[in-house]
């Protein structure tokens, strides 16, 4: 049942090896490169291919990031979920180090890349992927010192995400509650799927080893404490915590207690699958006047309270592939034709609640139609927006207590924002 990676490869967009680290000596770079170049050449679009492939006794798992592939190879029955997660973590570590992970930055930093690959994985077993702590003892040229470094305590500590001895003049915590609304509306105008994925994003600038406790209006907790929960409490369906949160404690009494990493991280994510009314509703009517002309009429309506305002609203309307000569009018915002996406992009900077805006567009079509019936591309209408100071779930941070043995006072800043996630209306 056990198993580990044989080797880890960083490959360019054509599948050629840029840097690789051999952990077990049973998969060669030549073999992997031969397989992978053929694989992506043959399949054309590697994004459509299963990310786990078996070839000639070796299993390959890969992910893509900009113009680089990261690939693990194994001859054993290794934990695929763990190795793929690990590859994503490697991406994050490299991004932390080089700002951008791409072919260029890997070449420019190959010495550090080797050092990191040696530290993050041993004999094919994932070891350590906390970028912030790694950068305390593996440094790029600019920061390298001649004196030899020691492994920070954190690498093997129970608190593996934070080093000791951090010091700030001003102790501050920023907490952003970000909710993404995912919605799927079918051709009949029915909402067939809707859920909210929330994240508590933290940025901490705290000295020492602070003990934090977060209080939410979580119904289970409030009811357990015997408080009345008139309409204010919410049910969080599935919560995922950053590894700093003591899971056993949460399981026991729903207390969210933790020693935070330094800097930015996602403290927790949660999901609610309660039916939400689409915050922005879009209806479109398509009229084909003749073989050569099509008219699209679109209504967009905001379905939230007037005191909130959606900003940066972007409505992507699919249009026929052969459309040309657009003639567009809008009652608000600006619209432009983006032929590269076969879409019309309607942008509205500010969209207050309870309002309705219109768009009318006319296109010419090429009058030649193919003999054989081929299916039209059926893209949905997609919407992007942000609504500040508002959450769909009604989640509230009741308190964020920060206790450190030096006894400093820390200021927590909390913000709320709702935005569109996968927001798709199949209405055109």
């Amino acid at each position: 049942m056990a198993g580990a990676a044989s080797a880890l490869f960083l490959l360019d967009i054509k599948g050629r090896v840029l840097v690789w680290r051999d952990y077990r000596g049973d998969v060669s770079a030549v073999q992997a490169e031969r397989f992978f170049t053929k694989f992506i050449e043959k399949e054309g679009d590697p994004q459509s291919q299963d990310p786990v492939v078996y070839d000639n006794g070796v299993s390959y798992m890969f992910v893509q990031h900009s113009n680089v592939y990261l690939m693990a190879a194994s001859r054993q029955n290794c934990n695929a979920a763990s190795l793929i997660s690990f590859l994503h973590s490697v991406v994050n570590v490299f991004k932390h180090y080089f700002e951008e992970l791409e072919e260029e930055s890997l070449r420019d930093n190959f010495v550090v890349v080797y050092e990191l690959l040696d530290e993050m994985m041993d004999f094919g077993y994932p070891q350590y992927t906390e970028a912030k702590i790694l950068s305390e003892f593996i440094k790029t040229d600019a920061y390298r010192m001649e004196t030899s470094q020691r492994p920070p305590m954190a690498v093997t500590n129970a608190v593996s995400w934070r080093s000791e001895g951090i010091n700030y003049k001003k102790n501050e915590v920023f907490l952003d509650v970000v909710e993404s609304v995912n919605i799927l509306v079918n051709t009949n105008g029915q909402v067939i799927r809707s859920d909210v994925v929330g994240a508590l994003k933290m940025r901490t600038y705290l000295s020492g080893m602070p003990e934090c406790k977060l209080g939410l209006n979580d119904r289970v907790l409030l009811e357990a404490q015997g408080r009345t929960t008139k309409g204010k409490a919410i049910d969080l369906e599935d919560i995922k915590f950053h590894q700093c949160v003591r899971l056993a404690r949460f399981e026991n009494d729903r207390t969210i207690s933790f020693i935070p990493p330094d800097g930015a991280f996602d403290l927790m994510t949660y999901r609610l699958s309660t039916q939400v009314k689409p915050l922005i509703w879009v209806e479109a009517q398509v009229e084909k006047h003749s073989r050569s002309r099509v008219e699209i009429m679109v209504k967009a309506r905001s379905q939230f309270k007037e005191r909130s305002t959606a900003t940066n609203v972007e409505i992507e309307l699919p249009v026929p592939v052969d459309a040309s000569n657009p003639n567009i009018r809008t009652s608000m915002g600006s619209a432009s034709y983006a032929p590269e996406n076969d879409a019309l992009m309607w942008k509205i900077k500010s969209f207050p609640g309870g309002k309705e805006y219109m768009l009318r567009a006319e296109f010419s079509l090429s009058s030649i139609t193919a003999e054989e019936a081929t299916p039209e591309r059926k893209a949905p209408i997609r919407v992007k927006f942000e609504i500040p100071y508002f959450t769909v779930s009604g989640i509230q941070v009741r308190y964020l207590k920060i206790i450190e043995k030096s006894g400093y006072q820390a200021l927590p800043w909390v913000r709320y924002i709702t935005m569109a996630g996968e927001y798709e209306l199949r209405l055109i």
């Binding site: 030549v30 299963d50 010495v111 020691r150 994510t269």
Partner: protein, 904 residues
């Protein structure tokens, strides 16, 4: 933070190596460091810089950690090619392993473990011993993994030096990371050891559960994976364990969540309380759903696992079907897996919404996805009787869109719907017939023809429709030809008028005389004979009521499902295959310089006996020596000239003008004396019926030699045999003909076999699953082994030159080695004779110190060749077998075969 290392790649002038050599020996530190970077850059782009070995190693003794790491990296890469020089590094390693800086101590021991050179390994033991007891947890966690490395290189050394005990002690270490790595190391060692090494007791269990709360995400995965094989003593213990593990479901790392799910599912099997089980199912649903918000590659792994989980515990996600609806931007591999799960979760309650989704998908652009969506509608129709009609109307709507591949796919699934609900939905046939001309895919054509034949009496112009296909009969693929044949026969039996009669003559003529396809020809002969002897009987047989089909095509067998569930999150769960089917352990062997060895080999070549030389592929192998004549050869002539088997009446030959040799002799009692066949179904399991069987190769033909013994009280008759899909596609060439078997009697049968008939997908395995039934007893299933040597063909001989050439042309990755410790080669001559008798042909022999090295070639059908190297000391146990083959996945099968051959 950004570097400028790319400059090190750009020095590609001539004379680079001498230049680097000079720089490496520079008196200036910085210059040396830059030089090492250039060397590593060259190594990275695949240049051979092994000649700088001594110079690089000289830079090893440095205070500069970065430089040291680079030199170590160089050593890992090139020590194998310079084993004698690698010893130069040992001193520094040993010194570094005692450095005051824990980073350097760990680095030394970590790197030494990666160098697979025996001389280095010997020196590793003492530092490793020290590091396992180091004060610093960073060093201990590195040492724990290093024990696994050492075990991989030299297992005995690990056991002799007591490292296993030291790692086991680390399970109780106070540092969670050390515990996690010790668990990983022990789990791996256990996997490769026959003896119990790592047994989880209730004591270790509680230690590990505590460490679980504190170690890194990756460490949590090691621990959960190791614990999931722990068998709780009773339901209470299982509940306790689950309670400790459920908080992991809240972890942000998907791998931790999946491993926790695996562990909970394992323990749930023991839990008896339905309340607890229901509660756990409820707890697991939200985390499983949340996995679908992860990165697409992880979603893919999660979906493959959810597919397994819903087969065992359908209730967990019964109400969550909507989360599997496809998003527009989902990668195609995610969409495909979601579809599969939607089918599994579809029920009468949600089918309307599901159908609406499928219909939406069926009009997308990706052809494979569209096809799968159409097929999904059909599978729902077959699965949900009450929804069948709605499914069909959706399919008809799709057919009306007239997109060619949608229509074809729809017709294929509608055929299956007809087979599931006979005589229910024929009213739609007229609509289907409208699309007749557009069908160009064999499966769709065959399906449509099947429908026409099956319902010929209700289609007014069935004869015209079929006739239109007949014109192109000879050009059609076999699948369509077979259906055309059957459909025409059905039509004729239903409407025995002039038109169909002419058609049937054309078809039968085409199918018997003008075709090379044995299936088609045999089926045509059977129909022909049926029709000419007894048309009424033909009607009874051809138009008999058929069993109704069901949709179990995508459900896994329960024991396989068990095994896969125990492997959640691993590759096995992604492939839906047990680990042994794809795990290949290849020992990394040092690079060989084959050319030299062979040159030497052919000089000292073993004189080939003339009888071995130019045998044609058809003539049986003639043994050159008489002494070691193992097994008896059958004096009977080859099957091609054997008289027709008794049960075939002469009439047939007359009627069809068929020559005798076109049919395979169906069975012939075995006249071969020889060792008794292995008992595969003992009488105790078979209610008195005992079956012994073995695969045999005779005169280039494969037989399944069977012995039936009836120890029951009743006569048994009506024997039939069936082979499950297997790696060589073995199937019976004809029906099993066993006479009625009276109590206390036995009968031996030689059943001719064919290859490549029902191939199983996936990596080869030697498993051959057989089912035998008779009229009196239930169906018996038993397992046999495919011994590859039975299949070695007589044309496997290779000339020395072509052997050498082939060996060199195959990449090293195609070379696989296995030690056969229990085997002794005593007499060279007799062994060689025995091997050649099994069609393993001797090529050459050479001496290598006290060992003999032999080269052979062998081939199995379809031209898969094996080049074999056997190394042994004659008379002492232990044979090393190395093979090279274009199909290395067959290696495990080959090794089993060679072991059997050498043992006998």
């Amino acid at each position: 933070m950004s570097g400028h290392d790319s400059k090190y790649f750009s020095t590609t002038k001539k004379g680079e190596i001498p230049e680097l050599k000079e720089e490496l020996n520079s008196q200036y530190k910085d210059k040396r460091k830059d030089a090492v970077k250039k060397v590593i850059a060259a190594m990275t782009v695949g240049k051979d810089v092994s000649s700088l070995f001594t110079d690089v190693v000289n830079c090893m003794q440095t205070e500069n950690l970065e430089l040291k790491k680079l030199v170590y990296l160089y050593l890992i890469n090139y020590a194998k090619s310079q084993p004698d020089l690698a010893i130069l590094a040992v001193n520094t390693f040993v010194k570094d392993s005692q450095d005051p800086n824990p980073l350097i101590r760990a680095l030394a021991v970590r790197t030494m473990g990666c160098i697979r050179v025996d001389k280095i390994t010997e020196y590793l033991c003492d530092p490793l011993q020290r590091c396992l007891k180091d004060d610093d947890p960073y060093v201990r966690k590195t040492a724990a993994i290093c024990v696994a490395k050492l075990y991989d290189i030299n297992a005995e050394l690990v056991e002799d030096r007591g490292f296993l005990e030291s790692v086991k002690d680390l399970i109780s270490d106070n540092n969670p990371m050390v515990v996690a790595n010790a668990v990983a190391a022990l789990t791996e060692i256990q996997d490769n050891s026959i003896r119990p090494v790592f047994e989880i007791t209730s004591h270790t269990l509680s230690k590990l559960l505590t460490a679980l709360n504190e170690c890194t995400e990756w460490g949590q995965v090691f621990i959960l994976d190791a614990l999931s094989r722990y068998k709780a003593a009773d339901a209470r213990e299982a509940e306790n364990i689950v309670e400790r593990v459920t908080p992991r479901l809240q972890h942000a790392n998907c791998a931790v969540v999946l491993s926790a799910v695996k562990m909970i599912l394992q323990q749930m099997e023991l839990i008896t309380s339905t309340d607890v089980v229901r509660n756990l199912c409820k707890k697991m649903a939200p985390p499983l759903v949340t996995l679908l918000s992860a990165e697409p590659e992880i979603q893919y792994v999660a979906l493959r696992n959810i597919n397994l989980i819903v087969q065992r515990r359908p209730t967990i996600l019964a109400h969550e079907i909507k989360v599997f609806f496809c998003k527009y931007n989902d990668p195609i591999y995610v969409k495909m897996e979601k579809l599969e799960i939607m089918i599994k979760l579809a029920s009468d309650r949600n089918i309307d919404q599901v159908l609406l989704e499928f219909k939406e998908y069926a009009t997308e652009v990706d052809v494979d996805f569209v096809r799968k969506a159409v097929r999904a509608i059909g599978r729902c129709a077959i699965k949900l009787e009450r929804a069948a009609e709605r499914c069909i109307s959706v399919l008809l709507e799709l057919i009306k869109i007239k997109v060619n591949y949608v229509v074809q796919e729809a017709i294929i699934v509608i055929k299956d719907i007809f087979r599931r609900y006979p005589n229910t939905y024929e009213s739609i046939i007229a609509t289907l017939c409208e699309s007749l001309d557009t069908l160009d895919e064999p499966e769709a054509k065959a399906s449509m023809i099947w429908i026409i034949g099956e319902y010929a009496e209700r289609i007014d112009n069935a004869d015209e429709l079929l006739e239109s296909f007949l014109e192109s009969f000879p050009e059609e693929p076999a699948q369509v030809q077979l259906q055309l044949l059957t459909a025409t026969v059905k039509l004729f039996l239903k409407k025995p008028t002039e038109g169909p009669q002419q058609m049937i003559q054309v078809v039968l003529n085409n199918a018997t005389v003008e075709t090379d396809n044995p299936d088609l020809r045999d089926r045509a002969y059977i129909y022909w004979r049926l029709l000419s002897t007894d048309p009424e009987a033909a009607k009874d047989i051809v138009l008999a009521e058929k069993p109704v089909i069901s949709d179990d095509s995508n459900l896994l067998d329960s024991s396989l499902l068990d095994e896969l569930l125990a492997n959640i999150a691993t590759l096995s769960s992604v492939y839906h295959k047990p680990p042994e089917t794809f795990v290949t352990r290849v020992k990394a062997t040092a690079q060989k310089t084959e050319d030299d060895e062979y040159a030497e080999g052919s000089e000292a070549g073993y004189p080939e006996s003339s009888a071995h030389s130019a045998d044609g592929p058809t003539s049986p192998p003639t043994s050159s020596s008489n002494d070691a004549h193992v097994g008896a050869t059958r004096p009977a002539p080859a099957p091609s000239t054997s008289p027709p088997a008794a049960p075939v009446p002469d009439l047939m030959g007359d009627l069809l003008g068929m020559s005798n040799n076109s049919i395979v002799p169906v069975d012939q009692p075995s006249t071969t004396p020889g060792p008794p066949l292995p008992v595969l179904l003992p009488a105790s399991t078979g209610q008195g019926l005992q079956i012994s069987a073995q695969l045999k190769g005779q005169d280039g033909q494969i037989f399944y030699s069977l012995l039936f013994e009836n120890n029951s009280q009743i006569p048994l008759d009506g024997f039939m045999i069936q082979f499950n899909k297997n790696s060589l596609g073995l199937a019976a060439a004809g029906p099993l003909q066993v006479p009625q078997l009276q109590p206390g009697t036995s009968v031996a049968i030689l059943l001719p076999m064919v290859l490549f008939q029902n191939m199983s997908a996936g990596p080869p395995s030697s498993l051959l699953q057989v089912a035998v039934k008779n009229n009196q007893q239930p169906v018996w299933y038993f397992n046999d082994k495919i011994s590859l040597h039975v299949f070695f063909t007589e044309d496997g001989r290779m000339e020395r030159g072509s052997f050498l050439e082939t060996w060199r042309s195959l990449p090293d990755s195609n070379e696989i080695t296995k030690d056969l410790p229990g085997i002794t080669v005593n007499g060279v001559e007799s062994t060689l004779d025995r091997l050649v008798e099994s069609n393993m042909f001797f090529i050459a022999k050479r001496k290598h110190s006290n060992q003999d090295v032999f080269y052979f070639s062998a081939k199995i059908p379809r031209g898969v060749a094996f080049l074999i190297e056997l190394t042994t000391v004659v008379g002492t146990p232990g044979v090393k077998c190395a093979i090279k083959t274009p199909n290395p996945e067959m290696a495990p099968l080959f090794f089993e075969a060679i072991e059997t051959l050498l043992k006998s």
